[in-house]
């Protein structure tokens, strides 16, 4: 993938000749066909493309939640294939934050408890985790919703809780899957503004998979995928032509 990005920034994600197949024999589907991809710290990179082009598969592989068949994939220089399942899980817990399309907030837990989860999983004590989570929820404007369950929040508020949960443990890689798909235009824009403001830092890489052309302007680079391959990569100021 040709990447018009600042080369002095360290690599956050790197894949080479990455192949991922689903099924066997006649049912074999090549989801990723020799994908070369890289994302650097300090950038917000979007992966776009039509449904079924392999965006989600690529996202799943580069965050270490899905295995691959051949090629190589590395996060912050760590080869994913060299890590055991348990090591990979622990690595994800420390270094990767997730924002999901359907938020995946656990309905019986309060906003505060949902946000605390990554810290608890990293061994932080409950009191400390809740203190940090409460501070972060306050920063995203939900200081009065700490004890509220997700079902009682609007879609935009739920996504803000999800953002807080994704960044509370200061991960170096933030993975966002269609973060605005379940939101209206105004809420989607607010979420991206919040994400840009709270999540984008020089030492952190944000990768967003999206269909939503309304948020393309927030990207530093956009990787266009088609049929399991990276078709093109657009740099800053070059995203206008992607609006259809």
């Amino acid at each position: 993938m040709s990447a018009p990005t600042e080369s002095h920034q360290p690599l956050a994600v790197h894949t080479a000749a990455l192949v991922k197949n689903y099924g066997r024999g006649d049912n074999l589907v090549q989801a990723l066909k020799s994908v070369d991809f890289e994302a650097r710290c300090g950038e917000l990179l979007m992966i776009v493309g039509p449904s079924g082009c392999g965006k989600t598969t690529l996202l799943s592989v580069i965050c270490g939640t899905l295995g691959y068949d051949s090629g190589s994939a590395a996060i912050f220089g760590r080869d994913l294939a060299s890590m055991s399942s348990a090591q990979l899980t622990a690595f994800r817990g420390r270094n990767v934050g997730f924002i999901f399309q359907q938020f995946n907030l656990i309905p019986s837990w309060t906003a505060l408890e949902n946000v605390s989860v990554p810290l608890l999983l990293n061994g932080v004590g409950r009191a400390k985790a809740e203190k940090a989570s409460a501070a972060l929820l306050a920063e995203v404007g939900l200081q009065d919703k700490l004890k509220v369950r997700p079902g009682q929040l609007s879609g935009g508020q739920q996504q803000r809780v999800a953002i807080a949960r994704a960044i509370v443990h200061e991960p170096r890689l933030l993975i966002c899957d269609e973060p605005t798909a379940a939101l209206d235009a105004a809420s989607g824009r607010k979420v991206l503004e919040l994400l840009k403001q709270r999540a984008c830092r020089p030492d952190r890489c944000v990768i967003i998979v999206t269909h939503d052309s309304r948020i393309f302007s927030f990207a530093d680079r956009i990787a266009e995928m088609e049929d399991g391959q990276i078709k093109a990569v657009h740099g800053t100021g070059d995203t206008q032509k992607l609006y259809v």
Binding site: T56, L59, S60, C63, T65, L66, A86, T89, A90, R92, G93, R94, V96, F98, F100, Q101, Q102, N104, I106, P107, S108, W109, E113, V117, P118, L120, L121, N122, R126, D177
Partner: protein, 377 residues
């Protein structure tokens, strides 16, 4: 994370209630039925518990206490001649019909004890005096007789009379006995009078009750008596156990109760297993999200097992609690039989634990097979 796992469980109230209800029902069914079974079998050896002596001697063919093969009275002397016997007294025990003042009949367990020593006498008297058994036609009846006679409108009290084999029996005492499997009242009298009440037979001695000398161990004495030939000696505990096992082997009681207990286990597995699987299945997306966020299999396993054990302990507590309340209520009435030893609680607990482990294991299998990547689908 474990606290949050419990919140996740309590959050789905419908499933939580269903799980607890299923396991409660299972625990109740198992503990209540086994306790009734134990109570019923305990009734079978009530005679041994009512006549408290360390050694019982019977005909060699006797297998349990409710099965009497009459012996010659000379056997008492033979037993007394055995080295190590402190004393030996005769006992008559048989089911006989009594004729009540209203002309109806009632079967009783006539127990004739040695008139000189009164060995085998009732241990707890409600009214009257055991020594009065030596009076003419004297009998002591138990609380079951009072209840059975009362059902027919006859208020049995001290001085009341009824007939046994056309001979008068006068109540001189009312005692409390352990209820028997046969369900008939105990009527105590002296051995010699019991022979008068009994239909004429060549042999009338039912058992010889024996006290070993302090210097002789019970197993040693049992061996010595049995070695004489024609007799079989039991320790009190052995006779209880042999009676218990005789009913287990020779009646349909274990099959009947066993079927209900197995049904309870099947219901428990079906309801708890299925509901827990559904609970895990519905939370699979969240489990996958936790997995993606760094929750290792060990953490998820702890969460799932905690959830399973929580519903298990709650269900177990409610189930055995209701069974105990049932037992408390029926014990006041005297029937149906109920005996809940600690082994019943342990057995029920172990079965519930196994059901929980199985449910959690099936749920964990599902989680283990789930790729964290499913959260992106």
């Amino acid at each position: 994370m474990l606290r949050l796992a419990l919140k996740m469980l309590y959050g789905d109230r419908a499933k939580y209630m269903m799980l607890v209800c299923g396991l409660s029902f299972c625990a109740l069914l198992m503990s209540q039925q086994i306790s009734v079974f134990c109570g019923l079998l305990l009734w079978t050896n009530a005679t041994v518990r009512n006549i408290r002596v360390p050694v019982w001697v019977a005909d060699a063919k006797v297998e349990q206490v409710n099965e009497v093969v009459p012996m010659r009275e000379i056997e008492v002397q033979r037993v007394r001649s055995v080295s190590g016997v402190e004393w030996a007294v005769p006992l008559y025990w048989s089911l006989l019909q009594t004729r009540l003042p209203d002309g109806t009949f009632q079967a009783v367990q006539l127990t004739g004890i040695d008139s000189a020593t009164l060995v085998g006498r009732p241990t707890k008297m409600r009214a009257g005096n055991v020594e009065d058994l030596r009076l003419p036609n004297a009998v002591i009846v138990d609380q079951v007789a009072i209840a059975k006679f009362a059902k027919r409108g006859i208020a049995l009290k001290l001085g009341s009379t009824f007939e046994i084999n056309d001979k008068e029996a006068r109540v001189v005492g009312i005692c409390e006995t352990e209820r028997s499997f046969l369900g008939q009242p105990y009527v105590f009298t002296t051995y010699s009078r019991a022979l008068e009440y009994s239909p004429p037979q060549r042999k009338l001695l039912s058992f010889v009750l024996v006290q070993p000398k302090p210097s002789v161990s019970i197993p040693e004495l049992l061996a010595r008596i049995s070695a004489m030939g024609g007799l079989r000696a039991f320790s009190s505990d052995q006779l209880k156990w042999d009676t218990f096992m005789w009913y287990v082997k020779n009646t349909g009681i274990p099959i009947s109760f066993g079927t209900v207990v197995i049904l309870g286990i099947v219901v428990g597995i079906a309801i708890a297993g299925q509901t827990f699987y559904l609970f895990v299945h519905e939370n699979l997306r969240f489990m996958a999200a936790l997995k993606a966020m760094g929750a290792g299999f060990g953490t998820l396993a702890q969460m799932v097992f905690l959830q399973a054990f929580t519903v298990g302990f709650t269900g177990y507590g409610i189930g055995v609690g209701i069974a105990a309340l049932f037992g408390n209520a029926v014990l006041k009435k005297g029937e149906p039989p109920f005996y809940m030893p600690w082994q019943v609680l342990v057995f029920t607990g172990v079965i519930i634990l196994l059901i929980c482990c199985l449910s959690a294991f099936v749920g964990l299998l599902k989680i283990a097979r789930t790729e964290a990547a499913m959260v992106f689908k």
